[in-house]
Point group: none
Chain length 180, copies 4
DNA sequence: CATGAATGAGGATTCATTCAT
DNA sequence: GATGAATGAATCCTCATTCAT
């Protein structure tokens, strides 16, 4: 990310602020531009695709996820580490309506995003393997399956109310434990 | 479903056959009409809205779900009944890409759909209450929350492969059990 | 008009009754058919074009206009005769939203309509010529111009409220008198 | 009317030129676009609705009407003032097929149109009140009724030929005078 | 670099009329 | 004769993206 001229930086921040007030699934670049007081061209300059804009909007959440995944990997108790990671991931995805799309996308616009995603998955792998080794989770789980499961629970919560989160998270965590 | 003239019935079946080959989320009535070899107006006559067409496509799956819910309610073992219903619901929703939308829609085009949905939810309520009374599931589950959870698991399976179904279903079922 | 089978006569009357409740300018033959409980084809059989239906709807008004034109031609005072005809024509056109179209149309669907229109214009000509001969109206008026003027006043009343009728009629009648 | 970029101004003028050759009552924005050699979107950008385009087409006529209404209000003889205004209004409405619609529309797209219409009606009110005070017209006339009457006479002239204008205008003016 | 006008394919929907049943 | 299903041109309008200014 090269240094930006101050006006360009202001435009960029402006665009992001406006975009944050929109539903990620129905982002209109023209609307964002108008509301941000810039031309459409400017939005396209900063964000060549809608996905690039969504990535930028999720940057903070992605960083938080990385931080969490590292803390989870450092947890002494592997089971606690996994629960910490899954719970945080779920909460972050619910707070940031575009994060699921960024995480699942096979293609990333920004290199930084690709790198952070890779690091998150690495830490998550560490967490999961430790938990499995400790017998804290079923043996047939993979990082992909678990990621999808978190996305599924996110979907379930979105169909209801945020108050459903604790229950559905708990159901998932309980379900992951190995059967006696 | 009033009796249709034979030509109308043929058109209708034709349209449904073609529509079945399309992704429910991106159905274009114009495309369906062209591929079915009928005029757009014919599609609109049979299905005034896209949702009406999606409902019609899901009719069989909806009937199967009703049948299953009744069988589940008749199960001697309440826990088995619940597992039967949830597993079947999940499988049916995965087979029929529009069923989730039909089930979740607050508005129904066809009266028959509204009635079937109501009966399904009634049977499901019976099943869930029996399971709860028997101590086979957590007490804080509701029909809505469980329905959303099934939709969430459906979502998770779709993100991966159909082979993930048994695992994710088992995780859900295990997670629903009351904690000691 | 050949004798109609009783069911056909019933259909026809039915269609006319329903059509009368619609705005003439926005008649949908399909809507009329549905509301009348008959097929579109039946409406088309009775009334090959929308104009044919509008003519049929105006039949009574047209008869009344003929009757009035004859009474006007028989008036001893030519000025009174003209005023009678113009006032009645205006009122009838305001009561029957399709009458203006029928009167102005160069083509008539039904022979009876063509004949009645011709007779009306003949009587009107008699009335106007008598009034002109008596010096009760300007000399530069023609049957066509006066007919158009009535249509214009009809239009003016429709832009406001029916209560404007007496005033605007009076303005027209006063304006037609020869200037001293 | 904010300053337009030169290319935008060219498009706008182009669209207006083409639209002027069409009957206002049957304007198709797609046709205008094609004939003007621009995309549909361009027409919609300049004129979000058909009414907006019709307003723009009538801008000059509306200005002329405002100018006339002011001159009429400044006439020393109130009767002459009224005759001047009514005659000019009628002629302008006949020249501009969309002016009647603009004047009668309760909603205006452009603020400028709303303002000009308000000023016209204000001047007209002045003219009418002066004429009434001078005993030059009937006392039961209102600005609305007179406006409708002008529209009615416009309608009458359109049903015949432009040559009917002087006669019908004179009939109207004579009819407005108070009866002795 | 920023701007925002222009593009135009794309998709939804209606309705007068025909014609198979 | 009656029916109403089918037609499909016609119209409306949107929006992601490009490119002249």
């Amino acid at each position: 990310m090269a240094a930006l001229r101050s006006d360009a930086a202001r435009s960029r921040a402006n665009i992001l602020d406006v975009a944050r007030t929109h539903d990620r699934a129905t982002l209109r670049l023209n609307d964002v531009a108008r509301e941000a007081g810039v031309g459409v061209g400017t939005v396209y300059r900063h964000f060549p695709t809608v996905h690039a804009l969504i990535e930028a909007l999720s940057a903070d959440a992605l960083d938080a996820m990385l931080e969490t995944s590292r803390r989870a990997a450092a947890e002494p108790d592997p089971g606690d580490g996994l629960a910490l990671y899954l719970g945080s991931a779920l909460r972050l995805q619910l707070e940031d309506g575009g994060l699921q799309a960024v995480l699942l996308s096979p293609e990333d616009e920004a290199d930084s995003v690709r790198n952070v995603k890779r690091e998150i998955f690495e830490s998550f792998t560490t967490v999961l393997e430790a938990a499995r080794a400790a017998g804290a989770v079923r043996a047939d789980l993979t990082v992909d399956r678990l990621s999808h499961l978190v996305c599924g629970i996110e979907h379930a919560v979105r169909l209801g109310t945020p108050e459903d989160l604790p229950l559905l998270l708990q159901v998932m965590l309980d379900g992951l434990k190995p059967r006696p």
